[in-house]
């Protein structure tokens, strides 16, 4: 005989035997306990239903559920350390009471400004969007009319270290990241 791997089935047979040994004489005993025919029938029916419920419960609880086989492919994903580093900085929430997180976010924003400035200088040659000019007088720059997020970033990054209430460096996380997203969109970065 094969080595059967269903111990729960054996448990089922054992429990069923015990339950039947207990219930069958009990049902038959009703005939001697109740002399009234209606009461006897009711008691025997109740015992029969109880037996059926017991058997169903035993079967359902001892049913062997075979392990489901499924191939799971775990793709090896590689990302650079630089992404994790920038994310750590840019993803910080600034707590206005302790100013914690402010430095990290500022550092992340500085990286952003440097990269965007370089990108504008390298790709926007000859266009009115002269980054040097934008940096020196963003509030007066006519060119930034259609680029409000970029304008805000330049203005706010001008005086670093000075906490201003309206600065995007103090925005809540979601709003801050929205500005960052818009900056990328406005400069047409990859």
């Amino acid at each position: 005989m094969a080595d059967l791997t269903w111990p729960r089935q054996r448990k089922l047979i054992l429990y069923m035997t015990i339950v039947c040994m207990a219930f069958v004489p009990a049902i038959l005993a009703m005939e001697y306990v109740f002399s009234d025919l209606v009461a006897r029938h009711l008691a025997m029916s109740a015992m029969g239903i109880a037996l059926a419920i017991c058997i169903a419960a035993i079967i359902l609880t001892t049913r062997t559920e075979p392990k489901r086989w499924k191939h799971v492919y775990k793709p090896m994903q590689y990302d650079t350390d630089a992404v994790a580093k920038i994310m750590h900085q840019i993803d910080r929430e600034v707590d206005r009471n302790t100013w914690s997180g402010y430095q990290e976010r500022t550092r992340g924003s500085l990286w952003l400004r440097e990269a965007i400035a370089e990108y504008v200088e390298l790709t926007w040659t000859g266009s009115p969007y002269d980054f040097q000019r934008m940096m020196s007088m963003p509030e007066k720059s006519e060119y930034l009319k259609d680029k409000p997020a970029l304008k805000k970033m330049i203005m706010d990054m001008q005086d670093l270290g000075v906490y201003k209430d309206g600065s995007f460096l103090l925005f809540p996380r979601r709003k801050f990241l929205k500005v960052v997203d818009m900056v990328f969109k406005e400069v047409g970065a990859p």
Binding site: W69, T80, M87
Partner: protein
């Protein structure tokens, strides 16, 4: 229903019998009899000895390449002639293997001495040895009330090789018009056919090399020397640092750089040039004086480069190239250019006077999922965008001192390089600096 059918059937049957007995409706008990007969037959027909399955597995094609699709066929045979009924078969795969088409899990009816096949397509991402197997099977009775499990210890070891770009279509014209790749004299002695000079005979020279007239004149054996037909030196710089790796499985920037570089190596050797490979991993390693394509093929098959010396830190790259290779060598660098250090080193190498071509596998290539899929995490999206902008800036800056190719390795390298030729100036554009070509 398959697994629950047996128990539910049994519950219904028992309940009917019990109710019939309890309520003394013998018609109900009689109605349950056919069900009891069916259940009895299921138990009687179930072969308690269990099947004895043998499994055979083979893989096509013979040479499996990383990132390419391979077809796996599993043949299951019921050897001992039992009637196992329904057989559920599951061919175990490592979690690094991607299931592309079909399923490695099947259920079928298997008669005595019968064979059935499972066919599915997979993609391997790990180079080197990958082990497939064992095969798990489960035999169930017709009502799926009982089951019997087993494992067929059949393993298949697949040696996965690197997927190298096709070098036949690669066009690598000269970087310098005065000293092209191709059949021009190297002005050094070697194994060519043009006479170079005379020297004293040494024991390793063959007798065909002896110039008998000169030997007779001088009274001692004199050998002829010939000019080497091999041309300029080509130095391939391959960036294999973990910091440069972006992508999924075998479709990542480092593997793309290696695959592209090895294709270029084969092309360079095909055109009878001398080749050296400098690679960056933990430090700087190099293989010098490669003259045969077999040596490149060995690297492809071995799936790895030799260990580099620990005494050569990465920052020594410009120094290594400057001191080990002639300044007239062509340097072709393969790097994803994801950090400032690499930009600085490339600039330093170019400043020495090497003609340089930089091929940069893009992290935003069409075949890489993680940089292409829309990212819901705004911080991650911003960080990745920032890294891409920084990389683009580096390429733009370097394009002023060398030829830069931004390579979307979802397409063939030959196709990307061909775009340079299509630009105004044609092949001569190789030497001209300009905006990055490619993606």
């Amino acid at each position: 229903m398959r697994r629950h059918g047996g128990p539910i059937f049994l519950v219904a049957m028992m309940a009917t019998v019990v109710l019939g007995v309890a309520l003394r409706y013998w018609e109900v008990v009689a109605a349950a009899l056919p069900a009891m007969v069916i259940y009895g037959l299921i138990i009687v027909m179930h072969d308690m000895n269990g099947p004895k399955l043998t499994v055979r597995r083979w893989i096509e094609p013979d040479v499996v390449r990383a990132g390419k699709i391979a077809i796996v066929t599993v043949e299951v045979t019921n050897k001992n002639g039992n009637t196992p009924g329904l057989v559920e078969v599951y061919d175990v795969l490592p979690d690094t293997v991607e299931l592309v088409k079909g399923k490695n899990h099947r259920m079928f009816d298997l008669g005595p001495y019968e064979s059935k096949r499972i066919k599915y397509a997979v993609r391997f991402h790990i180079q080197g040895e990958n082990r497939l197997g064992p095969t798990r099977w489960r035999s169930l009775d017709r009502a799926a009330f009982f089951f019997d499990e087993g494992v067929a210890q059949s393993f298949t070891t697949v040696k996965v090789q690197r997927q190298v770009e096709d070098s036949r279509k690669l066009r690598l014209p000269s970087l310098a018009t005065h000293r092209p790749f191709g059949h021009t004299p190297a002005r050094i002695k070697g194994q060519g056919s043009d006479f170079y000079g005379l020297r004293e005979y040494v024991t390793t020279d063959s007798l065909r090399m002896v110039n008998w007239k000169a030997s007779a004149r001088r009274g001692k054996l004199i050998s002829k020397e010939f000019e080497d037909e091999r041309l300029g030196d080509v130095v391939l710089v391959i960036d294999m640092r973990p910091a440069s790796r972006v992508g999924e499985g075998s479709l990542n920037t480092v593997d793309a750089a290696v695959n592209g570089a090895l294709a270029v190596a084969q092309k360079v050797l095909m055109e009878r040039n001398r080749l050296s490979i400098v690679y960056l991993r933990k430090g700087v390693g190099w293989i010098r004086g490669i003259t045969s394509r077999r040596m490149v093929q060995e690297i492809v098959e071995r799936a790895d480069f030799p260990e580099e010396l620990e005494t050569s830190p990465i920052s020594w790259l410009p120094w290594t190239i400057r001191n080990s290779f002639p300044t007239k060598a062509h340097v072709i660098a393969f790097t994803s250019m994801l950090d400032d250090d690499m930009e600085r080193m490339m600039r330093e190498v170019a400043m020495v006077g090497y003609d340089m071509l930089l091929v940069s596998p893009s992290p935003a290539s069409t075949c890489i999922g993680i940089y292409r899929k829309p990212v819901t995490n705004a911080a991650l999206r911003a960080s990745r965008n920032l890294v891409l902008v920084q990389r683009k800036n580096r390429l733009l800056k370097l394009s002023k001192v060398m030829r830069v190719v931004d390579w979307d390795f979802g397409e063939a390298l030959a196709l990307t390089l061909k775009r340079i030729e299509r630009q105004k100036g044609g092949v001569a554009r190789w030497r001209m600096k300009g905006p990055p070509v490619g993606a």
